[in-house]
């Protein structure tokens, strides 16, 4: 679907995007992660054609990117939300939908569909300045997807949303992905990524640090940590135990084989196993490790 090669963009003093290459498959939900100021928004602005890269290529469906030709395929919700404050909600949606190349009739039909679905019909004749912040966020999302884009690019889609609206939009994102829409969204909140994304890329200081599926990345960064809960004490594994709380152990092994050996030990001793599971690192852990290893000097991720 989207193929980006060796993108570079330099602003006055800093490299906002420094030689980034990545591919996004059709129908996937792709998370672009990184601390504040890592270059996520700059990268998304290049992909949407808002700014031109200094170097590198963007291909969409195998064709070189062209704003006018591909703009109808892309839905973009910038981090800085923007609507005309004095314009009525319905007129605004119609205008922005038509700008995306939709005919008036199609735009009106789609507006009706989404406004009905998300219970927004009563807003149509209100001015945007009369909407609450959460309401205008929702409106912004609807406007972004009004023309059924094949590629949906959302910059921090959940910032400033309450849990209820967050869930509504999350559901819509899932539903769209199921219908084949490719979704790229940026965030600095890891738990959302873990929850929603199948594929991710981590960006820091303009550079791509990591790129791949969530499961594969977790596999790569696992430290062979296991937790075991049994009815009696275990013996002979003192060097592996990191933490112990009664008969609840946290252990680390050199490799998977040793972990399997523990299981056979437990069976041989006829211990009653309540739980035995591998502890996979959270993305949060991985990123903090990577980002801090990267000469430090960046802000911590928000952990809430």
């Amino acid at each position: 679907m989207l193929d980006v090669q060796h993108l570079k963009k330099q602003y006055a003093t800093q490299k906002a995007v420094d030689d980034i290459s990545l591919t996004v498959k059709k129908g996937s939900i792709f998370g672009l992660l990184g601390p504040n100021g890592a270059g996520k928004s700059s990268l998304l602005r290049i992909i949407t054609g808002i700014t031109l890269p200094d170097a590198g290529t963007i291909r969409l469906h195998g064709e070189p990117f062209d704003l006018i030709k591909h703009s109808p395929l892309i839905g973009y919700m910038p981090e800085e939300r923007g609507l005309y404050k004095k314009m009525k909600v319905g007129e605004q949606a119609l205008y922005l939908g038509q700008l995306k190349g939709l005919s008036k009739i199609d735009t009106l039909r789609n507006i009706k569909y989404w406004f009905d679905k998300l219970d927004m019909q009563s807003w149509k004749n209100k001015k945007v300045e009369d909407l609450s912040k959460g309401m205008s966020q929702k409106l912004q999302f609807v406007i972004t997807i009004l023309h059924n884009p094949a590629l949906l690019i959302l910059d921090e889609p959940f910032s400033g949303l309450d849990p209820v609206n967050s869930a509504v939009i999350k559901d819509e994102i899932y539903a769209l992905a199921q219908k084949g829409t490719t979704i790229i969204f940026s965030t600095h909140r890891m738990e959302q990524v873990e929850e929603i994304c199948r594929e991710i890329a981590l960006v820091n200081k303009g550079k791509l640090i990591l790129h791949g599926s969530v499961a594969a990345i977790k596999e790569d960064f696992k430290q062979n940590m296991f937790q075991l809960e049994v009815d009696q004490a275990i013996q002979g594994y003192e060097k592996n135990i990191i933490a112990q709380e009664g008969h609840h152990y946290t252990l680390r092994f050199e490799n998977n084989e040793e972990a399997t050996n523990l299981l056979s030990y437990c069976l041989a001793q006829q211990l009653k196993i309540k739980t035995y599971s591998e502890i996979l690192p959270s993305l949060n852990d991985i990123f903090i490790r990577l980002v801090e290893g990267d000469n430090g000097g960046v802000r911590q991720f928000d952990s809430n």
Binding site: A12, R45, T48, G49, I50, T51, L52, L67, I68, S71, I74, Y76, M77, P78, E80, R81, G82, L83, Y84, K85, K86, M87, Y95, L96, Q98, L99, K100, G101, I143
Partner: protein
């Protein structure tokens, strides 16, 4: 092309639908007309004739005073009873009493005017002018000049006619001055008012962050030009409405206020006495000279410089709007480099009206930043065709260059949040590909 049309439509409709547009469009001609109408009404009101009672003890003025005035009637009375002046006025139903005492040694001794509440300046002027004329005629007659000769002397005056040698046509510098001033001033206003409108529109889009959403659908240049063209159409609409409104008001008002009908008729209006004294042949001459000025040339030049000047400056205002971050004061500072040449152009125009072929005027009418305003002041006097052509070409070139540069600034500026851009950075943006 389809998208830029959508943008033009939105810019146009959202502005025309605003209450402030309706208010200014309706109010300005009504206010102007209200002003003119009240003035005319006042003039019409004061036209209620004042009656002057004259006691002429000298016998020089009796039956000789001007009765053709539209403001004053004259009644000659005799002061036999030596009554109090107030009673005299009441008895004769007059407002003003003029008492001329007998001459002493052939010279007027004393002349007094009385009125309840004081004599108005215009009444005093009327009486003194009239009496002086009569007294001068009397003196001339006393010197032995006969009446016919005096009349012919009084009616003689020298009338100047000016000609344009090249076209061998009669010209009127008064009309040229008026046309030059009015059209130049209009263009000056349009550039400032609608240019500022463009800047505010760009600032709104930037501070609302809507620009980023739109720029993912259209090129920044389309957004900028859509706004500029949309606002130009708003301006043209407003002008057209003003023309229609003033035109229709001119016909309608006298119907509502009958007194005005007379007042608005120039030949009978009190304030336009001077006009009525101009022989009709001269009036016709002025209008003839108007058509001699090539009305079509003036009109088409006005339209060209009106649009050219607006587009040139609107692009620059858009660029400045894209540089500003929410701060009104910052906006004001940043517009100085743009408003300076506009104001300069205005000053050159006022001097060009007095001397349309001075070096300054010619330079001002060629230089694209000042030519829309200055050239309009020169055109009614007749400008060589090559100068008009050069000026227009330069304006078009200036417009293309400015729009190109402004679009580059705009493209980067509209997406720069927070940081205030320095002029050095702005110059760098112009060099981006």
């Amino acid at each position: 092309m389809n998208k830029i049309w959508l943008i033009i439509q939105r810019e146009y409709i959202s502005r025309v639908k605003k209450k402030s547009f309706l208010v200014t469009t309706l109010l300005i001609p009504i206010l102007m007309f209200g002003l003119i109408a009240t003035m005319a009404y006042m003039a019409a009101k004061s036209e209620q004739k004042e009656a002057i009672a004259v006691i002429d003890e000298s016998g020089v003025f009796i039956n000789k005073m001007d009765t053709s005035s539209s403001s004053y009637t004259i009644t000659y009375i005799a002061d036999d009873t030596h009554e109090n002046y107030t009673t005299l006025l009441e008895k004769n139903k007059c407002d003003i009493l003029l008492h001329i005492y007998p001459f002493k040694n052939g010279l007027p001794d004393s002349v007094n005017i009385y009125k309840d509440g004081g004599v108005s300046l215009s009444a005093k002027e009327f009486i003194s002018d009239d009496m002086n004329t009569i007294y001068q005629i009397k003196q001339m007659q006393d010197e032995g000049i006969d009446k016919e000769k005096i009349d012919s002397i009084n009616n003689s005056s020298i009338r100047l006619k000016s000609f344009d040698l090249k076209n061998n046509q009669e010209t009127s510098s008064e009309i040229a001055t008026m046309i030059g001033y009015v059209t130049g001033f209009l263009i000056y206003l349009v550039i400032l008012i609608y240019g500022m409108g463009v800047m505010r529109g760009v600032m709104e889009e930037k501070t609302n962050r809507i620009a980023e959403v739109i720029i993912s659908s259209v090129r920044p240049f389309q957004l900028m030009m859509g706004k500029i063209v949309g606002i130009a159409l708003v301006g043209l609409t407003q002008f057209l409405l003003w023309l229609i409104l003033t035109g229709s008001l001119q016909f309608l008002l006298p119907l509502f206020i009958p007194e005005l009908r007379q007042a608005m008729h120039p030949s009978s209006a009190a304030g336009m006495d001077a006009m009525s004294k101009v022989p009709t042949s001269e009036l016709a001459g002025i209008f003839n000279s108007l058509s001699n000025q090539h009305w079509s040339l003036i009109l088409s030049c006005f339209l060209f410089y009106f649009l050219g000047g607006y587009f040139l400056y609107a692009a620059m205002f858009a660029a400045v709007g894209s540089l500003v971050n929410e701060d009104q004061q910052e906006a004001q500072q940043m517009t100085i480099p743009i408003t300076m040449p506009i104001i300069l152009a205005f000053f050159i125009m006022t001097s060009a009206i007095k001397d349309p072929n001075s070096t300054l005027a010619i330079f001002g009418s060629m230089f694209p930043l000042t030519s829309p305003i200055v050239m309009m002041a020169r055109i009614p006097y007749g400008v060589p065709a090559w100068q008009i052509a050069t000026s227009m070409l330069l304006l078009v070139a200036g417009f293309v260059l400015m729009t190109w540069l402004s679009a580059k600034i705009y493209r980067t500026g509209i997406l720069m949040y927070g940081k205030k851009a320095s002029w050095k950075e702005v110059i760098k943006w112009m060099r981006y590909r």
